[in-house]
């Protein structure tokens, strides 16, 4: 029963953190970051249902997010013009239903195969919908998009949704419920078979399951939750444009899920938090944010194929054996020079891109025309790279030592 208590504790803690966040950080900026995080978490988790759980690589997941958002914002407009009476709290449900319907339609023909064929169909549908959205300006509002107003609904528990904080508490409800349902889905027959079909669709057929149906169910569920996220987006920004359903948004959700870690339920949550934070913290300081993001993404795919969550979970074995502390010093010895390298390299990039003669960055004042700043940065980067390279063998040894099987009766592994 200990595990059961741990589970309840985990979910209770999740809810508590969600609810307490705006008490701790109560600035308008913080709330707006939290709202964006909430939307990103639901969207990234829904993407993981496809790729992480079901093995379907989609380049068009924004379609369900965007369509959900558009429908939601149109409902807001109908409420505004009193053509419809509806509760603001249920707006994400409109998004979810839209996502579900779109998922049923597209899934009916796209889930026959996984792999490249699925990826290509998703890309085609994504491009098709994005291009159509610019043609059918009546519904999609063209390049300007469609805007609504969330304050015309009946108040809910005294909240009139004038402030972002009200929206946040509504979002918390939807994020928590969505996370819970998506988690529970992985524990159901349909969810478990999604993993099985991901691993080996042929074998799934020979134990009685149609791989296509299994994929279809996951696909519809993923569409639904993407739509919920789209509905939340419409509520938060009161504004939806074609960009919310095009390839850029589809790519961004892939990025979040992948950087966070596909194989773990919590991975996309981590990815959504990291990327939203990075977006806010860095995009104010640098124009090169997207370049750094691209580098981070490619490096993650190359060196951390299981994402940040995978990186954390890698330490489980060492932790269980109580040897984690042995890694602290080697990590420090490699990490600090690596940090020096990264910061110097970033400064170099920024300096070469600077529009002002003197660049104020990371507490440094760097003159664009001074050879000294350039030399210092190159030296810093070189030293960092050199020390990092020197210390990695030590880190590797420490890693192997921490993960070495126990001397008595180590388990044999399959060759």
């Amino acid at each position: 029963m200990k595990t059961l208590a741990a589970k309840w504790g985990l979910w209770g803690g999740y809810l508590a953190v969600l609810l307490l966040l705006p008490q701790v950080f109560d600035s308008i900026l913080a709330i707006s970051i939290f709202n964006q995080m909430a939307i990103a978490i639901v969207f990234a988790l829904s993407y993981n249902m496809l790729l992480g759980q079901g093995g379907m690589l989609s380049f068009g997941h924004a379609v369900y997010f965007g369509l959900g958002g558009f429908l939601a914002v149109h409902v807001l407009r109908l409420m505004e013009f009193e053509a419809m009476y509806f509760s603001i709290a249920l707006i994400p449900l409109i998004g979810g239903l839209t996502g579900l319907l779109a998922g049923i339609f597209v899934g009916s023909f796209s889930t026959r195969k996984a792999g490249t064929v699925f990826a290509m169909i998703s890309l085609g549908i994504g491009e098709l919908v994005a291009a159509s959205s610019l043609i059918f300006t009546g519904f999609f509002g063209g390049e300007a998009g469609v805007s609504g107003d969330r304050t015309f609904g009946p108040p809910l528990f005294g909240m009139d949704f004038f402030s972002d904080t009200d929206v946040y508490y509504l979002a918390v409800f939807w994020v928590f419920v969505s996370t819970l349902f998506m988690y529970l889905f992985t524990r159901t027959p349909a969810g478990r078979m999604a993993n099985a079909v991901r691993d080996n669709p042929e074998r799934a057929e020979f134990i009685g399951y149609s791989a296509r149906w299994v994929r279809f169910i996951s696909f519809c569920a993923a569409g639904t939750f993407a739509g919920v996220a789209g509905g939340l987006f419409a509520l938060n920004y009161e504004f939806v444009t074609d960009e919310n359903l095009n390839l850029v948004t589809s790519g961004r959700v892939l990025l979040m899920a992948y950087i966070g870690g596909l194989g773990f339920f919590i991975g996309p949550i981590i990815g959504a938090i990291i990327l939203t934070l990075m977006n806010f913290l860095l995009s104010n300081y640098t124009e090169l944010f997207l370049l750094y993001l691209g580098i981070l993404f490619v490096l993650t795919v190359l060196f951390l194929p299981r994402g940040f969550a995978g990186f954390i979970m890698m330490h489980q074995a060492a932790w269980l054996r109580g040897r984690l502390h042995g890694l602290a010093l080697p990590y420090l010895l490699t990490g600090l020079p690596a940090l020096l390298f990264i910061l110097s390299a970033v400064c170099l990039l920024e300096l070469s891109h600077a529009s002002e003669p003197v660049l104020h960055f990371l507490g440094l004042s760097l003159a664009r025309d001074s050879a000294l700043s350039w030399a210092g940065l190159v030296l810093g980067a070189g030293l960092g790279a050199f020390l990092t390279a020197r210390s990695t063998p030590g880190l590797r040894r420490a890693w192997e030592a921490a993960n070495a099987p126990e001397t008595r009766g180590g388990r044999e592994r399959a060759s």
Binding site: T188, E202, F206, I207
Partner: protein, 250 residues
Amino acid sequence: MSILSLRGLRKNFGATEIIRGVDLGIETGEKHAIIGPNGAGKSTLFHLISGKYAPSAGAIEFKGKSLANLPPHHINRLGIARSFQVTNIFPRLSVFENIRCALLWPSGYHYSFWRLLDREAGLNRETEQVLEKIGLAGRAKIPAGEIAYSEQRALELGMAIAGGAELILLDEPVAGMSHSEADHAVDLIRRVTEGKTLIMVEHDMNIVFELADRISVLVYGEVIASGAPAEIRANTQVQEAYLGEALSDA
């Protein structure tokens, strides 16, 4: 009455005919082995019965119902389960999950997304019983891709028998095993297929003669002989075509 009957079964890939008119009846409860030289079409025959390939001509009937053009999952639901020559499991799922997945459809869970597996005590008990039977209870939590080869073969077998199918097809169940592992596997197969109809493809003659009530010899896509082990051993045609060579090898 035959549980499975093949009549005039043919399969060609382009111009190459792999199965060239097979007629075969399998009786309920029988342990039937299909032997033959490499390339005789044994695995193809299995793929035809289990629905991986569609026959080019002829009929396959299971308990009087035609299987022609049914997809594999439909055939499985009728009560035919199979194992594969090359280990075919869900590598990233745990050993426990592999068996539980194999139990899902026959236990009536189908595509439900409103029932939580961990709460289904009956299903989990049944999974543990299967694991006990195939000797993998101690490996339940390990990802199936990480256990030893002979253990994966046992898991493969477990997935085939888990759902309680009436007809089990085993494609070279002891391929790649050492002698002692193979003996152990024969024992296991005998135990877990008790009371069921079994068709297997196998190269190892010792195992064939040990397990089978009846043997069919497939050569170049045709059944050249079918009968009790003693008859097959005595059949001169079989000896010429195949068995003599295989026996002298052994």
